[in-house]
Symmetry: C5
Subunit: 344 residues, 5 copies
Amino acid sequence: MDSENIQAGHAAEKNTGKRIEVVDYNAEKKRSYSVRSADPERIAALADIPENLVRWVNIDGKCESAVLQNLGKAFRIHPLIIRNISNHTQRAKIEEYQKYLHIVAKMIYYARGRLVVEHVNLILGPRYVITVGETEGDVFDEIRLRLQNKDSYVRAAGPDYLAYLLLDAIVEGYFDVLDVLDQKIDELEEQVMSVTSQDHLHAIRGIKKELLLVNKNIRPLRDVAAIIEKPAASLIQPSTQPYLRDIYNHIVQAIDSTETSRELLSGLTDLHMSNTSYKLNEIMKVLTIISTLFIPLTFIVGVYGMNFRYMPELEWKWGYGITWIVMIVISCCMVCFFKKKKWF
Amino acid sequence: MDSENIQAGHAAEKNTGKRIEVVDYNAEKKRSYSVRSADPERIAALADIPENLVRWVNIDGKCESAVLQNLGKAFRIHPLIIRNISNHTQRAKIEEYQKYLHIVAKMIYYARGRLVVEHVNLILGPRYVITVGETEGDVFDEIRLRLQNKDSYVRAAGPDYLAYLLLDAIVEGYFDVLDVLDQKIDELEEQVMSVTSQDHLHAIRGIKKELLLVNKNIRPLRDVAAIIEKPAASLIQPSTQPYLRDIYNHIVQAIDSTETSRELLSGLTDLHMSNTSYKLNEIMKVLTIISTLFIPLTFIVGVYGMNFRYMPELEWKWGYGITWIVMIVISCCMVCFFKKKKWF
Amino acid sequence: MDSENIQAGHAAEKNTGKRIEVVDYNAEKKRSYSVRSADPERIAALADIPENLVRWVNIDGKCESAVLQNLGKAFRIHPLIIRNISNHTQRAKIEEYQKYLHIVAKMIYYARGRLVVEHVNLILGPRYVITVGETEGDVFDEIRLRLQNKDSYVRAAGPDYLAYLLLDAIVEGYFDVLDVLDQKIDELEEQVMSVTSQDHLHAIRGIKKELLLVNKNIRPLRDVAAIIEKPAASLIQPSTQPYLRDIYNHIVQAIDSTETSRELLSGLTDLHMSNTSYKLNEIMKVLTIISTLFIPLTFIVGVYGMNFRYMPELEWKWGYGITWIVMIVISCCMVCFFKKKKWF
Amino acid sequence: MDSENIQAGHAAEKNTGKRIEVVDYNAEKKRSYSVRSADPERIAALADIPENLVRWVNIDGKCESAVLQNLGKAFRIHPLIIRNISNHTQRAKIEEYQKYLHIVAKMIYYARGRLVVEHVNLILGPRYVITVGETEGDVFDEIRLRLQNKDSYVRAAGPDYLAYLLLDAIVEGYFDVLDVLDQKIDELEEQVMSVTSQDHLHAIRGIKKELLLVNKNIRPLRDVAAIIEKPAASLIQPSTQPYLRDIYNHIVQAIDSTETSRELLSGLTDLHMSNTSYKLNEIMKVLTIISTLFIPLTFIVGVYGMNFRYMPELEWKWGYGITWIVMIVISCCMVCFFKKKKWF
Amino acid sequence: MDSENIQAGHAAEKNTGKRIEVVDYNAEKKRSYSVRSADPERIAALADIPENLVRWVNIDGKCESAVLQNLGKAFRIHPLIIRNISNHTQRAKIEEYQKYLHIVAKMIYYARGRLVVEHVNLILGPRYVITVGETEGDVFDEIRLRLQNKDSYVRAAGPDYLAYLLLDAIVEGYFDVLDVLDQKIDELEEQVMSVTSQDHLHAIRGIKKELLLVNKNIRPLRDVAAIIEKPAASLIQPSTQPYLRDIYNHIVQAIDSTETSRELLSGLTDLHMSNTSYKLNEIMKVLTIISTLFIPLTFIVGVYGMNFRYMPELEWKWGYGITWIVMIVISCCMVCFFKKKKWF
């Protein structure tokens, strides 16, 4: 059976909305193949899962809406879900239906320096998992590899464990993004402390927007906790619950991390503003000190530029020299005074 | 029956408080007509809904209060609701009564550049929906069209689905408004970054007020969640619950969006203030540098303007030239010093 | 019976702690009279309510504490309540006791430009309502009129509806105060935008204190919701519940309104500070520009005030004229430079 | 029996950790005496309460820990409580144990201008109350007096009412402190508005620290509400519940009050900063106006100090006078211009 | 048996991932020994706990992962826990599993002036406690000593009490850190008030980051409350519950303390900024006053430096002297004026 894995590899390459990737597995065997999405009958047959097998159906979100509708009918998924799958402005969420669980998660990563948010739908049924992603999710490749390994736990476990693995792969990605953001903040902090530039404010604003975006897309996933606590959720086996709890912990950790980052970021604005105003004020202070030093001297030379007929000093032989000495003494006194006051 | 739709179109035009628009429908047939609001008996008869039909009664909120009272009596609606319908300062809310559900929602849209908030009442009973709007709600026109289509799901579903459609149309409108607000914030951000003007503060305050208004009118609708969770609400069929959950998600998304916008907006105030103070300070710095450059020079020329009898420099042939050279050297040194310190 | 209403009118006038106003009513008849508060036996008899009647007992809070104690004993009201009635620093609250409901509400209104908070106690029992106000509450006059009208709903309803009416009258008063506050904020906003004065800050602080006062006195009434939700509260008939829910909505609306006002107010502080600093900076900028324009010119005239023997320019015939031209050119260049930089 | 009260008075004086004060009472009789704390057997006997009596045991917290341990063993109190009693950094709290209730409250008052926080432990058992205070709590003297009065309600009520009285005495003390703080804020506000001094900031910070301290020690007592709502708490008789509810209301009121004070206080910082910067800016403005007035004049006199050979104005007879007139006109124009612009 | 304690002391020294420290105890006897971590069979045998004994297994977290996996298998611990043990980025948490309780706590302390966060795992089973720390936790040495003491309560109590002791030792460490932080803030406050230096901002930011780190690692432990309240948690004996409640109180106290510290710290930023700007402004004010004093004088001497032919004052004998007197008078007037206005 494992010989079919090569075919699966091919399928992964071609699968740009035209083919549906299917993986059937249980502890003993595994078969991966692809179905042409233009073939409604074969799609309808997908809901017919051979006994003792778990089926993972992975569709490219860019496929035609008819494909999704056929799939929805086959698996008896609520038409609203099918309609919403292609609506990428949907909020991340976890919703329970009677026979399946609908998860909308956002895959977040940096691509060419820009933050990209991808819409991933995941439907977990009694014996199947359907995933609909925006692009060919290479994040899931590791899970495909694990499924090939006969000894891996996922082969023995049910579809709920597969759903956990998929969700976990997405959540792990959040931490990569948060690490990049933390690093950006650290770098910016160093820059703010060394250079003063109005560009820092724009950089801060840019990071803040990214943080808001990440936070907004992670936060709704906290609802995963609600599903663990409801023992009635027969879709989740007790053995999988610790794993979901682990994901919940990761999500809370990620949210905490965004909060901490935001707090640090807002402190950075204050730091920048304080630094900027401090440095500007320092410059003004030095300039004003220079002016203040010369103004009394200018007054003195002005005095002896007066044209009064009777100004005895003007006639003195050492008048000019004494004036210079007086001016130097005054300057020194002022400099000492300023230094003593620690003005520079 | 469908031939009567033309009449309904007419009714919609004339219906400025004088006629009540009525639509009766089920999967097979649909009839839309209008009733003169001045005729109490015909209003009383409206509560008499033929079996297997769903009735949608749409009244203009500007009609006389007697009309509403008659209608209230006919449908046994609590007099308090009837009294509150014309009170446009009422908060948005969703309230359960034993036999019906009362929803007050606010339609929000931009008309001629100003944000308009309209008061819409919706009463969902076992087999009827009553809507009371402020103006002839063209937002509902799309729903009228859907009702004409025999194959549309609404024809087969109950009044709860119709109520969902009406509420959904209102909620969709929120996103249009939020998009406009987001765009306004983006535009303002660009302006704040390029030009410094005290007008920006007023613009920010204007947008903030609009955001507060939107937030205030959307927030109470979150209570829709409470109604989904109560299984006893026999008015809502299980098949309609996913739709209400969808509306709930949209409302939460809209509220989140206003929060994000507010945060961005408040950051904009800081950005504006920082920019303004930065630019003003920069100007002051340049001006002060100019002054500071000339003050020592003015002192020097002052020195040689003194009238001491014995000033050897004055007698030198190159005294004047040397003074100029000294002054130029001093200026250059100061400019270099300022440049080295990165003061300009 | 209605002939006694005149007497009631008299009673209302004289009733400054010396007389207790009593109104007995049901759908058919109504009797209003007053009891001398100095007569303990008649007070004790007040608890003896004729069958099928609802009794409203209204006491002036300034009466002697013995009167309240007698009344408390007669109606078997907990001594703590009686003790607290005259304690005007009590918080607004709604508390359930086994046989009655104790409501402390604060009547808030403007009197001679100052915000006045009045303490009102309301005890709702199985067949009676006792109100204790600080002053002769003219807010309740409208309710007295309604009770005279045989056809009004209150005559047919129980004491819980009367309590609703009284509470509603108090809550309505909040909106009048909030409207005044909103108007004050609007007026202040206009002033802040046109004039800069340090007085604005004090005005903002004044309004903020009023808002805090209003908010503090309204907020505890939110607990009214808790009473609606407890179905065991046999004192509240199901038919009165929608009315209480309406009051709850009003209270929440009033609280929301204070929150919005506070947010607008705090924005106003920023606006004021920004405007003040902006205008001051503008003045400084203009002054500095004037200084900066003259400083180079002063340097030039200083140059030709030097007394060097060999200064060729001084001998030129057009030296003086050329100097003027140079100075004018320099000034024009500087003005152009400043204008180009948009410095004024 | 009442003759023993004199002895109790003596005991109160000497009781600095060496004697344990005991009061036994019921509706008919009351006995107060003291036990030497060094006598373990007598302490052990304290737990043996004669039938129908309530026992109040009051120990000075500065006694040796062995005393507390003996007492704890006698009354079967959890060793953790005994250990914690002398730990004054313990948080205020209310904890239920199976057979008793442990309350840690903080007595807060001003002593010699400084805020003092005292640690009070209160253990309420089925028929006893144990209090352990830091100092000889004169706050409890009033309660001792009440216990002497045969007709006071406390004599007839159980130990829960005594506990209420003790807790109430502590909570009442909070309001005295809050009143002092409010007064301090009001005084500071007046000062901030009249004088600008950097000391205000330190004063604000001092009050803020006191507020934080008060808030921190009051807040945990809110848990008193949890105990009222649990009907299983057999230690609290239904008749005492309204009293506890009253305490809860007081605590909430005190917390609210600290919140309001903090908000006013933080507004005060803004007011101070704004005032300080405003006044400094005003001074700078006036100074700059003076400079700006003289700079053009200095330029003019500089012009006529030039030594050009051909300067026609210098030869004019009225040159000097005209120059003065021109300078005065220019000054007047500038002053008018500044006045028109409302710059001073 | 106690003779083996010496061996335990040795084990503690060598135990750097190569040996597992084991302590078996009950009220009568205690045995401590170490097991080579490279021996899987002996590890497997560890789960075989002799009846009536409590076993504490302490492993160094730096051991090979195989050791942990063997241990996990022996004690039937969920593989996810074993996997997470070496993941030091895990959040602090308390999680209940069916047969054991998994606690991740963070040991926080200062080492060489830097804040160190250590990851500690604690698994509490029916008759065992497993601890996995990052370093050889000397914090636990005191507990080892207590276990040697036959009379200590821990010997008689179950593993839940041992877990309490371990957790308590960690929580106590938090207060040491918080005390250091409080002291740092106090020192910084004094410095901010006396000296103005831009370094303060960096110091504030440093402390803030430490506070955020501490808060983040303490906060999740609040969940300890959830475990106390669930009576089903058979792992926790009722007699241990008060101890856990005590830990909960300590954790809440620690969190409160970080909140208070953060508030004080943020106030410190304001204080620093205000002080800095105040002092800079004061300097500028003095400098400007000096300039302003000399500018009118410079104007006067300029006047008499003019070369008009007809300037009567120049010819006066006392002209020069009078000019000096006038200038001194003007200076004095200005100084008086500034003093009167309290400008310096």
